[in-house]
């Protein structure tokens, strides 16, 4: 029933990480719901199986009360202790609007976990979450924008649990569109929130805020000692700019891509993402791979950006 995701990217399975997937439909009850913003819901859903094996960056595919295809939604927080996971849903079309009207006690029909999530370095032998002050621990910088921030919260939690230092940069159009700031502050050693219209930490976009954070002497010092990796999820132009910045600075970077999806399980081939692949005949080559199966998280260097 469970599959082990086979690596396609250069960063895959560098530390034996495996992504379990399960496409058998299950019904799971909504334990709690919270309206983050008008039309933006955060649900906690009980599913002990999913909570026990899902990893940050993986997703679930939800049946909607109104709509034909399922809707892919990335996992936000994974809570194995509570047998539950959190997901955030924005009401965009008829299907997600209907999902956002669901309330506590109602049951969601979903499949998951699906896809390949973020890869993190293994927990170091000495490193525990207790020695947060160790100067040479590796750092994770999560860069998010809009509803792309959801999976980064779970990723930062896992990074901290593995003894990594955590940095976050979030970008929003406007302070009134910002959400989960308290949660990100709590899980990040350093956080920087950006707004295009001002009113948050940084007046400007997330990519500028990343540059600002990385130019901070104390961050540069920590990066020099423990090494830094980045993870990005958000609007396509933001991820493209973050990927370029990471490449310029020689920082490993993973991005969670979005594509219109059909099955979510890998059989229909509609969610094509163009990536650079090793060409056995030599020379560079690109290929369409499945966002739902080989992704949604990719090594930023292999993505062909439009």
């Amino acid at each position: 029933m469970n599959a082990e995701g086979e690596g396609v990217s250069g960063m895959a399975n560098e530390n034996g990480d495996r992504f379990h997937t399960d496409a058998v439909p299950r019904e799971a009850p909504i334990l709690s719901c919270r309206e983050l913003l008008p039309g933006l819901m955060l649900y906690r859903i009980q599913d002990p199986f999913l909570a026990s094996c899902a990893r940050p960056g993986q997703f679930v595919n939800l049946k909607t009360p109104d709509g034909f295809l399922r809707r892919p939604i990335s996992l936000c927080r994974i809570r194995p202790g509570e047998g539950a996971v959190d997901i955030g849903i924005r009401a965009l079309g008829a299907g997600t609007r209907a999902l956002c009207r669901m309330g506590c006690g109602e049951r969601i029909d979903w499949i998951g976990p699906l896809g390949r999530g973020f890869l993190l370095p293994p927990r170091s032998n000495q490193g525990t979450s207790d020695d947060a002050d160790r100067p040479d621990r590796p750092l994770l910088l999560a860069v998010g924008g809009g509803i792309g921030i959801f999976p980064l919260l779970g990723l930062l939690e896992e990074a901290r649990a593995r003894g990594m230092g955590t940095l976050s940069v979030l970008g929003f159009r406007d302070p009134s569109q910002a959400f989960l700031l308290r949660e990100f502050r709590e899980i990040s050693d350093r956080s920087l929130f950006a707004s295009d219209t001002g009113g948050l930490d940084h007046h400007g976009n997330a990519v500028e805020a990343v540059r600002q954070l990385l130019s901070d002497p104390s961050v540069r010092q920590a990066v020099g000692k423990g090494g830094l990796r980045m993870a990005a999820c958000g609007p396509h132009p933001m991820m493209k700019a973050v990927a370029r910045l990471a490449e310029d600075l020689g920082i490993p970077c993973q991005v969670s891509l979005e594509q219109r999806m059909g099955c979510g399980t890998g059989v229909c081939l509609v969610c094509a993402c163009e990536v650079r692949r090793k060409n056995p005949e030599g020379g560079p080559a690109t290929d369409y791979v499945r966002c739902c199966r080989e992704g949604p998280v990719f090594d930023a260097r292999e993505v062909v950006w439009e």
Binding site: V24, G95, I111, G262, V267, C268, A272
Partner: protein, 314 residues
Amino acid sequence: MSAPGMPADIAVDLSVDLCGIRLRNPVLAASGTFGFGREMAEVFPLSSLGGIVSKGITLLPRRGNPPPRVAETASGMLNSVGLQNPGIEAFLREELPFMVAQGCAVAVNIAGAGAEEYEALVERLDRTPVDLIEVNLSCPNVREGCMAFGATARGVESLVSRIRPRTRKPLAIKLTPQADSISETARAAESAGADAVSLVNTLLGMAIDIETRRPVLANNVGGLSGPAILPVALRMVHEVAGTVRIPVIGMGGIQTGQDAIAFLLAGATAIQVGTATLINPTACQDVVNEIASWMRAHSVPTVRSLIGDLRLNP
């Protein structure tokens, strides 16, 4: 309170004979909605199905169309995958052995840009363990070949008569609902030596994003599938089953055992479940179980007795 019908533990016979291939039951997984079976084999044992049909295979690897390749529609969806596949050689080497090991019948769906490609494909498949070759003359998502042959009876007849001498494998010709007359294209396939006809493939459609004023699909148009097309498909299966003597494989929007039984009554010897798998990964297996339950509830001991048993109104 006891329900009428047969006790739940009584075995019903779901087996059918499809042009010499004995199928455990009449349910096949449709091409393009099941990959090569690998993903769904993790979900349920494929031996519970009558068979599986591969994603469309071409002579050389194909990248497929740029994304977006999908648009949701009322009770259905449009796709424009554009026959992305690894090509026949990689398929035979890397995918067919897995399919054959699943314990159900294996059909390979093939597509070509020209008659020579179809000839080469059937020749290559002739000495393989494939049970059935489904010849796609109906893909709406590629520029050349395919539907160009399937649109007219003359096109179908000329293509099928060219490939027929090249293989002893049973050939099922997959027909488009966009032919001038699907009875005529089915008859042309039969007279050129086809062993079965599969119908229907998708209907060419379009979705427009009114905010951007652009089509949703990068390819502008795509094939419509799902329950939206079921009544059209059912009518065509009924029409074709009354026209040809070779078996009809029916498909188009089947989601439940009840849908499948309607196609059997309309004259289909076997049916395919396609788009339903994208929403419900266990759809094919569910359809098998629902057919069996319905037969027990209605005291129907063999599924064969349902085939073509439609009673038309006077």
